[in-house]
């Protein structure tokens, strides 16, 4: 099996209130994520990106179409727990996903639910806390940690379940810039060193720059996808969707518009510096 996650023509709708009419959250989404890939999904609020992420963890089931996680159909009830273990999920608010009163006990929560041997749980907890660089906080109370630290504990809690894929639903939305950096660095490291497939949902464009692939969603559909360079060079399309591009890309775009002869697909500061130096 080549794909970690396969989303085939998925439709999903829900009612916010009883009397409302059906709101189509996903209409005809197709997405294939390779093993070990780092995919970033962007889109503004209500674009369906969060709904899509909850489908991959089998929290929601599609109304139409199928989703396969490592070859397992999310409709298959007998595979439910295996799917949730394979594709771990980190949510936006770190406070609302930490269950226990001590960091290491919280990290152990997932493996405990899976019925793993206590000795093995201990090994996994140590490993997971080391991976997110939180080992010195193992005995601390979670409510005394900073936002970034809490979110790293939440990631460790998923890691201890030995997932093949981690889905992160706006994990940095409630964090300050330094906390954001901690979390993103951790995610990148897990992708590179542990080979874990990452699906990161975010609305911070800077976080998408280092991804293997960027998927842009709007109104329940995938509008465009490609490498960060391909996607961010479509500045006008993104602006039409109400999305930002990374600051440097925007600057390069404006410079180009006012007549400077520079490349269109600049996404890092270094690239822009190089281009500008070449101009002289």
């Amino acid at each position: 099996m080549e794909y970690m996650v396969e989303v085939n023509n998925v439709y999903y709708s829900y009612r916010k209130h009883e009397q409302d009419k059906e709101h189509l959250a996903l209409c005809g989404v197709n997405l294939k994520v390779k093993k070990g890939e780092f995919v970033v999904v962007i889109g503004h609020n209500g674009s369906g990106k969060s709904t899509l992420s909850k489908h991959i963890n089998a929290i929601y089931l599609p109304k139409e179409g199928d989703i396969f996680v490592n070859g397992m159909n999310t409709r298959d009830i007998s595979k439910l727990w295996e799917i949730r273990q394979t594709a771990g999920m980190v949510f936006q608010n770190p406070d609302n996903q930490i269950v226990a009163t001590i960091v290491e006990e919280d990290v152990a929560f997932g493996p405990e639910n899976m019925g793993i041997d206590p000795e093995e749980i201990k090994r996994r907890v140590d490993f997971a806390l080391r991976s997110v660089k939180m080992e010195e906080y193992a005995k601390h109370a979670p409510h005394l940690l900073s936002g970034g630290q809490k979110q790293r504990v939440a990631i460790a809690g998923i890691l201890a379940m030995k997932p093949k894929c981690i889905i992160l639903d706006e994990p940095t939305a409630m964090l300050d810039p330094s906390g954001r950096k901690e979390v993103i660095d951790t995610i990148k490291k897990l992708n590179k060193e542990e080979g874990i497939t990452i699906i990161l949902i975010t609305h911070f464009m800077e976080e998408a720059v280092d991804a293997d692939r960027v998927v842009v969603m709007d109104d329940g559909k995938i509008v465009t996808e490609g490498t960060p360079r391909e996607v961010f060079s479509k500045v006008e399309l993104l602006k039409d969707l109400g999305l930002d591009v990374p600051q440097v890309t925007e600057l390069a775009y404006e410079l180009r518009k006012s007549g400077l002869n520079i490349r269109q697909d600049i996404i890092t500061i270094d690239e822009l510096v190089e281009e500008l130096c070449r101009l002289r």
Binding site: N57, R84, F91, N96, E112
Partner: protein, 264 residues
């Protein structure tokens, strides 16, 4: 001000009492409480006093914490004492208006007050030396055998854990809401008691709504981490009963025998 609230009254330490298995400590406290009700002589209570003082000394808890735990029940003590002194029939010793104090009444009042004091002190030693988490684990493990007759041991323990986990979070949130309301001119400090109670509504409503939302998200996050009840669940922390625990149990049983022998 609201941040000063502490959960439980656990005093971290490293004494023999602290290190005892939580299950054993709960059992010991239960035996102690039952024993208090079996004793019916002042000599018995003298033994209890010596025993309790020794346990407190071994646990290295400062005595002031013990007295602190008695403060909230001061009124209950006075009430019990007065009620018993006046309402027990017997030989009249003194008269206060239409009420009379009897010799039997005084005797009974002293008895009751001593009994309640030891009850609180004894259980305080348990909560002062055992962390809330260890207590929860102990209760779950002790209740486990009763699962067959429908005692939801795991669910109870999980509820207690989540409550403990979220108390600080909700306190923080209450603090934030109070500040937000104050910033918009709400007055929580003046007015009579009814007005003040009314002023709490704008704090409680958002707090409740937020807690429901939190509960919803927490449930989702727990399910995403494969939570499906206590069935088939293992635990990382294993508890072992070692020779210290057996020693404590033996000492307690010895004490019970001595105190029962003092019965008249």
């Amino acid at each position: 001000m609201i941040k000063d609230i502490t959960i439980g009254q656990y005093l971290p330490g490293d004494s023999v009492v602290h290190r005892l298995d939580p299950r054993i400590k709960i059992i010991l406290s239960t035996i102690y409480v039952i024993d208090l009700f079996l004793i019916n002589s002042f000599l018995g209570y003298l033994y209890v006093a010596i025993f309790t003082a020794l346990v407190i000394l071994i646990s290295k808890i400062p005595f002031k914490y013990i007295f602190k735990s008695l403060k909230p029940i001061l009124w209950i003590l006075i009430f019990t004492g007065v009620l018993n002194a006046f309402l027990t029939p017997g030989n009249v010793v003194a008269k206060v208006g239409p009420f009379s104090v009897t010799d039997k009444g005084l005797y009974l009042a002293a008895f009751m007050v001593i009994r309640i004091i030891f009850l609180i002190v004894g259980t305080s030693v348990l909560t002062l030396t055992t962390s809330p988490i260890a207590l929860t684990d102990g209760i779950e493990l002790l209740l486990n055998p009763f699962k067959k007759i429908g005692v939801p041991a795991h669910e109870l323990a999980m509820m207690m854990t989540i409550a403990l986990r979220f108390i600080p979070t909700l306190i923080d949130e209450t603090d934030k809401i109070i500040k937000a309301q104050k910033a918009r001119g709400a007055d929580f400090e003046s007015g009579n008691i009814i007005n003040r109670a009314k002023n709490l509504i704008p704090i409680l409503v958002p707090l409740f709504i937020n807690s429901f939302r939190r509960a919803d998200e927490l449930a989702l996050a727990m399910e995403a981490r494969c939570y499906r009840g206590g069935e088939g669940r293992t635990r990382m922390k294993q508890f072992n009963i070692n020779k210290n625990d057996y020693l404590a149990l033996t000492v307690m049983l010895l004490f019970v025998v001595i105190s029962i022998l003092s019965r008249r």
